[in-house]
């Protein structure tokens, strides 16, 4: 396979990764890392560097539309970033303290639990109309979004801010420790713990993952993990895919997005468990 074939084929796969990542709020890393390592046999360090690029590309590409269309909850996202960035910074220093194998098993189980919790909410995700959460009221994290699938404005209230912050801290920690799963805990934190609507959770997660990834991108750049011939097709393809995905999310039914998210989450948790048990 010549460099041209590589660039063109990887760009096409990246478009698909961008569409999927922007719909479920996870970034394209879920697709990019396995594709690069298993299909192209690229060194894992370079694959993780490409994954960081794809997460930022998904986030910025999709969030430009999500924020403009008020699909993402800007205030809640920026408020919760306090916890994710702090978590990411602490994670960078904990890397050597805990064995990666234990972490993979631990977070594999957490994600398996999250996927069950997210799946269970499929019939009971009506937005809340009142909230006595002091933090949510103080920062006014409540919102409204226009649901194109239902053709109406949906107003929602936010609860469980402290639990949400705690999970977000762990989400930042995990993404710094393992280099994956930046959005996998963010969506359940907003959907299950804070009762944001599913599509808002996905869009807001998309908005946030770019910042979490940017917090560790500097390290990856300096360590020489960002290879231009991999990063170029990934960035361009994912950006295009994320722009397309951002147009689909508003029109898709909440339940479809929820099921799609659960499926991807199950795959990630199995991947993590496999790495922890077999590695």
């Amino acid at each position: 396979m010549t460099p041209l074939d590589f660039v063109v084929s990887l760009a096409l796969i990246s478009v698909a990764a961008g569409v999927l990542g922007s719909l479920v709020g996870l970034g394209g890393g879920v697709v990019i890392v396995p594709v690069l390592t298993l299909l192209y046999h690229v060194d894992i360090r370079l694959a993780i560097g490409a994954s960081i690029v794809s997460v930022i590309a998904t986030s910025s590409g999709a969030a430009a539309a999500y924020v403009r269309d008020r699909m993402a909850n800007l205030r809640a996202g920026m408020f919760l970033e306090v916890a994710t960035t702090t978590g990411a910074l602490t994670g960078a220093y904990l890397t050597t303290l805990l064995p990666a194998r234990f972490l993979f098993v631990f977070f594999g189980l957490i994600l398996a639990y999250s996927s069950v919790a997210t799946f269970r909410r499929r019939h009971a995700d009506a937005p809340l109309t009142a909230s006595d959460d002091r933090l949510a009221n103080y920062f006014n994290l409540h919102g409204t979004y226009h649901d194109l699938a239902e053709g109406r404005e949906v107003a929602y209230k936010v609860v469980g801010t402290k639990l949400g912050l705690s999970i977000m801290y762990v989400a930042g920690l995990v993404s710094a420790l393992l280099g994956i799963g930046s959005g996998a805990l963010k969506v359940p934190a907003m959907d299950s713990a804070m009762h944001l609507p599913m599509k808002v959770s996905s869009a807001t997660s998309n908005f946030m993952i770019g910042v979490t990834a940017a917090a560790s991108a500097g390290v990856y750049f300096v360590r020489g993990q960002i290879d231009p011939i991999i990063a170029a097709p990934v960035a361009a393809g994912v950006l295009l895919g994320a722009t397309v995905g951002a147009r689909i999310l508003g029109r898709a039914a909440s339940k479809t997005i929820r099921i799609l998210f659960v499926v991807v989450l199950v795959v990630i948790s199995l991947e993590m468990l496999q790495k922890g048990v077999l590695a």
Binding site: M1, T2, P3, L4, D5, F6, V7, Y40, H41, V42, D43, R45, L46, I56, A57, S60, G61, A63, A64, R68, L74, M78, F79, E81, V82, A83, T85, A88, A92, A130, R134, L135, N137, Y138, F139, N140, T144, K162, S166, Y169, G210, V211, A214, A215, S216, A217, G218, V219, F221, V222, G224, Q225, I226, D227, P228, I229, A232, A235, A236, L239
Partner: protein, 160 residues
């Protein structure tokens, strides 16, 4: 972490944000207008950052292929593996990047585009701080400023 809200302790009367109760409909509406302006500013930053990085990356990729004719064939002995192995060299410090750019190297231009992409979320947070401050939304401005400080700190800790 949860103390962030209480600790800023400012008068709740004049500002919709920072109230310790649910907002009245009139306050909510005023709030929505403010948030709208911040949203539009941030959406614009993201779009500009994304477009700039895509353009630079495309130019860099074009240069790479223009300088190395052998990359362009669809079949042939040259494998991409030579460019994606653990020993492949490419710029990964600002010094090396400057050198690559000065020599008109395609890969240097691509790396520059990727750096623009990486810095877009950071710039988005910075614009958030300014917008919230401009809209006199002190609690959110402080929260966003904290995030910006952590982000900038992480870049310095990385030694980039």
């Amino acid at each position: 972490m949860s103390g962030t809200g209480q600790s800023s302790g400012r008068p709740a009367a004049s500002l919709p944000s920072g109230a310790r109760r649910a907002l009245t409909p009139a306050e909510s509406e005023r709030m929505a207008e403010k948030v709208r302006r911040v949203e539009l500013a941030i959406s614009l930053v993201l779009r500009v950052g994304v477009l700039a990085s895509v353009l630079v990356i495309a130019v860099g990729l074009g240069l790479m292929f223009a300088h190395h004719g052998s990359y362009l064939s669809l079949t042939g002995p040259l494998s991409y593996r030579a460019l994606t192995s653990a020993t492949t060299s490419f710029p990964h410090s600002f010094g090396a990047l400057g050198h690559a750019l000065a020599h008109d190297e395609g890969r240097g231009v691509v790396v520059l585009g990727v750096l623009i992409l990486i810095l877009t979320p950071v710039l988005r947070v910075a614009v958030g701080v300014v917008s919230f401050a401009y809209e006199k939304d002190a609690p959110m401005a402080l929260v966003t400023l904290f995030v910006l400080a952590v982000l900038v700190g992480s870049f310095f800790l990385a030694g980039a």
